[in-house]
Amino acid sequence: MMHPMRKKRLQLICLGILGIGIALALILTAFEKNLMYFYSPSEIHAGDAPAKRPFRIGGMVVEGSVVRQAESLGVWFNLTDTANEQMVYFEGILPDLFREGQGIVAKGQMNKSGLFVASEVLAKHDENYMPPEVAEALENVQHNSKVD
């Protein structure tokens, strides 16, 4: 026979663990529902991205893929996560930091023909800190691997 006081304490601890467990399960479910609404080109290829609602896409602008429309602000470019590419169309003024090879985030929606129509394009500074030579070297490697 367990001491009633100890039994009570044990029950409380079990309840506490149960509560934390449920809370974690709910929060993890929230993660699963993709709280970010953020998808990579690969995920879009796999068909994970929503078809009917806006979301975000992130990736690097593929070198040489930028095509500007002659008489308007329209621009096409491809985004890559190194595995897959996704074509994006945007009409508007691109941010100053928008360059080929730069990581960007675009907000918009898929159209029926599989083109991502962006309503907004954001260029983010990247979070790497390295000397210029290293950056250059890294760029060369990437360039070469693309040529191969």
């Binding site: 970010m36 990736g59 985030v105 500074h125 790497n128 000397p131």
Partner: protein, 250 residues
């Protein structure tokens, strides 16, 4: 083991023990500081995009890390206050809260100075900067509660409870702010699988962090020791100490 902790958690023993420890800490701190300053300002190369302005990282990042570390230290003290009722922990909690708040403020200010060349504005609702701002308010809350309660034991215990609620809240705030931020600005895209910081830049950053930790240890020991004297001012050993001190000065 228990006896060891018991011995050093007695205020008087801690006072004398920490007095012996301090000069040693200062020496190690200076060594680390000088080495890291050399590394940070001279030997580390300039960044390929940001040039020399990236060097503020050596103040910003250690401050930001310390702001979290000090909160964790406060959390440990809070548990000791609430569970074991350790007097030394009560004193520690009150002594380190302002230091933690200062580190947080330093991280915010340097972040904003860094933001000027990087983003073009002094303040950007960047996820990390915003959660750092919330962290500052958590610190200020603990300090405000400590100041509002006259009785030091009740004050320390109340502040401990608030501090522990805060500890659970820190990851939640951090995560939700990040999520909110990406919703409005898009997450930072990093270059895949490439080293995010070069080794020549990393080593001074790590040693600078150690220097910050030692600085924190030294300053908090000073604050704890002066708080111990106030706490125990009615006891014989403090009275003896004051008497000896006066004689020494004459």
């Amino acid at each position: 083991m228990f006896r060891f902790f018991y011995h050093y958690s007695s205020l008087r023993n801690f006072y004398f023990f920490s007095a012996k420890l301090t000069p040693f800490l200062i020496a190690v701190f200076l060594a680390f500081l000088i080495y890291s300053l050399y590394g940070a300002l001279i030997s580390a190369p300039a960044d390929y995009q940001q040039g020399d302005s990236f060097r503020i990282i050596y103040v910003h990042v250690p401050s930001a890390w310390m702001s979290l570390l000090v909160y964790m230290a406060m959390g440990l003290s809070a548990v000791s206050v609430l569970v074991w009722r350790v007097k030394l922990a009560e004193i520690t909690l009150g002594a380190i809260a302002p230091i933690g708040a200062t580190f947080t403020l330093a991280a915010l200010i340097t972040g904003s100075i860094w933001g000027k060349p990087m983003w073009g504005t002094w303040w950007e609702w960047d996820a990390r900067l915003t959660s750092e701002l919330v962290l500052l308010f958590l610190y200020l809350g603990v300090i405000a509660l400590l100041k509002a309660i006259d009785d030091r034991r009740t004050g320390a215990r109340s502040a401990s409870i608030l501090c522990l609620i805060g500890i659970i809240n820190i990851p939640i705030v951090h995560y939700s702010v990040e999520w909110w931020n990406t919703l409005h600005q898009g997450p930072t895209v990093s270059k895949f699988d490439s080293p995010s910081i070069h080794i020549d830049m990393l080593i001074p950053l790590l040693t600078m962090t150690v220097a910050f930790m030692l600085y924190f240890a030294i300053i908090s020991l000073y604050r704890i020791r002066s708080a111990i004297l106030v706490y125990d001012k009615e006891t014989q050993w403090v009275k003896d100490l004051i008497k000896r001190n006066e004689r020494g000065q004459i």
